[in-house]
């Protein structure tokens, strides 16, 4: 029974789809082995799925590692069906906004993300993943983005070191369970040269100061987005992912 690994475990997908070779985490194995077999088989069929979108870019391994550490077994996938069927979805991002948009469109994931939002499916977008939610970005010329949140992505002002790289504080501008156990003005890890400037300020959930005050976190219904990288922000970041998943899967 224990040999019947779920078809789309994190490790399988990592190995087959993205070329990563990361054996399954020990804590996850331990957890699974400690469960009674009958419960295990039920869980394999019925447990809620978490997808990390693989569109040929981004820090997929880091996001998946963080989720595994929290006891989940995410699938890292480039399958649109799998993304649309997941109960909670992560959209990672690293690199340039224009290139990211292009990869999302080429892979068909742009339409999938729009569909997820329409379905009110819990979605967590990170860094450039957040930026592409806006109407357009001025990175490397003007590029149209997904337009889920009205507004533009702009370059950080001159005079300070760019990229904005390191740990900075997030001031929480709304009260939400995703901030549970995370004090106001907690430090998170940032690395970016552009920032989201939403036209709709009602979606702003957190702001950060770097030369200017910019929107570092968005929440709109079941859509969550951070300019910072929770998966690289120590225990506070893990807590944020944990809060999101508890909220999303409840």
């Amino acid at each position: 029974m224990l040999a019947l690994t779920p078809l789309y475990t994190y490790a399988n997908i990592i190995n087959t789809v993205s070329g990563f070779h990361i054996p399954r985490c020990r804590s996850y194995d331990k957890k699974q082995n400690s469960l009674p077999l009958t419960f295990l088989s039920i869980m394999n069929r019925k447990s809620k799925t978490i997808a990390v979108i693989n569109y040929g870019a981004g820090n997929l391994g880091s996001v998946a590692n963080a989720l595994v550490k929290l006891g989940y077994s995410p699938v890292v996938t480039s399958s649109i069906a799998e993304v649309l069927n997941a109960h909670a979805v992560f959209l990672p991002g690293v690199g340039a906004g224009g290139d990211t948009m292009k990869s999302l469109e080429v892979s068909g994931m742009a339409a999938a993300v729009l569909k997820l939002v329409e379905l009110q499916r819990p979605l967590f977008a990170i860094c450039v993943g957040m930026q592409v939610l806006l109407s357009s970005t001025e990175e490397d010329g003007e590029h149209r983005c997904l337009g889920i949140i009205p507004g533009k992505v702009r370059k950080l002002p001159q005079g300070l070191k760019v990229p904005h790289m390191g740990w900075n504080q997030v001031r929480q501008t709304v009260s939400h369970p995703v901030f549970g156990g995370i004090p106001d003005n907690t430090y998170f890890y940032f690395v970016h040269s552009y920032y989201a400037h939403p036209g709709d300020s009602s979606a702003v959930a957190g702001v950060t100061e770097y030369g200017i005050e910019f929107c570092s976190m968005l929440i709109k219904d079941n859509l969550f987005a951070t300019q910072f990288h929770p998966e690289k922000s120590g225990e506070a970041g893990l807590r944020m992912y944990s809060n999101f998943l508890k909220y999303a899967l409840s």
């Binding site: 880091s62 070191k161 790289m165 922000s233």
Partner: protein, 253 residues
């Protein structure tokens, strides 16, 4: 407010952490995965791994170390040492590194920085420079783990490398490294004022005040240190508390 980063460095050879003086006389300082987890628990802002063995076999070992570390450490990881090609870079990033530091290969093939920045983003491409003092306010780039002087002026090279795509500078003073008598802050300051990307000061930390000087006089954005943390002379937290008391913004949680 953006904080200054405190970065323990783990020099790794054949899967073990080692520590030496001016790049030689290596002593064993433990298991890299255990050390990384320990520093993460202590509040390190980031970790740097330098593979100083850097043979092809050592690189395989390093990939496995990075994979293991990435599963339990949730702060940025930078890996360097012997990376020569885009494929080498890709392999480390896929193993779980967030950035790679490139030294000799960038001097031999500056196009690697441009190509790496185009594919992975410039935030992934850290230029490592080993700088050897060659006169009054003048430094020479050394490659091959500090063994080979190149005749290239450090400031000229850094300016060019940032234009090409380097997103951060890991700046090691060859003269100060391992001597525990302080960073070369004239060097740190010259580079920090020269380029708009962050500068990590490295080489020479022997006391907490050295960290403070590199961040204040040297204007560095981050400080890297090895021996003061490895031999538990100071904890990361002690270092941060010391800096905070002197008015340096640090992450203390």
């Amino acid at each position: 407010m953006l904080t200054k980063r405190i970065i323990p460095c783990l020099d790794v050879t054949e899967g073990r952490v080692v520590k030496g003086t001016s790049f030689t006389n290596l002593r064993d300082a433990g298991d890299p995965v255990e050390q990384a987890a320990f520093y993460y628990g202590e509040g390190a802002d980031e970790l740097v791994f330098l593979d100083i063995g850097a043979t092809p076999e050592a690189r395989d070992t390093m990939v496995h170390v990075v994979e293991k570390v990435a599963r339990q450490v949730f702060v940025p990881l930078c890996v360097g040492g012997g990376l020569r090609t885009i494929d080498d870079v890709r392999r480390m990033l896929q193993a779980g590194a967030d950035k790679v530091s490139i030294n000799t290969a960038a001097v031999q093939n500056p196009g690697l920085l441009r190509e790496g920045a185009a594919i992975f983003g410039r935030q992934c491409m850290v230029l490592a420079v080993d700088a050897r003092r060659s006169g009054e306010a003048a430094w020479e780039v050394c490659t091959h783990g500090g063994r080979k002087p190149t005749g290239i002026n450090v400031l000229d090279w850094i300016r060019e490398a940032v234009d090409l795509g380097a997103g951060e500078i890991l700046l090691t003073s060859w003269d100060a490294d391992g001597h525990r008598s302080g960073y070369d802050n004239e060097l740190n300051r010259a580079v920090s004022e020269l380029v708009a990307v962050p500068v990590i000061a490295s080489g020479g930390a022997g006391a907490l005040d050295h960290l403070y000087q590199a961040l204040s006089i040297g204007k560095a954005d981050a400080v890297l240190a090895a021996s003061i943390f490895h031999y538990r002379e100071y904890s990361i937290r002690q270092a941060k508390e010391y800096l905070a008391a002197k008015g340096i913004p640090v992450r203390l949680q």
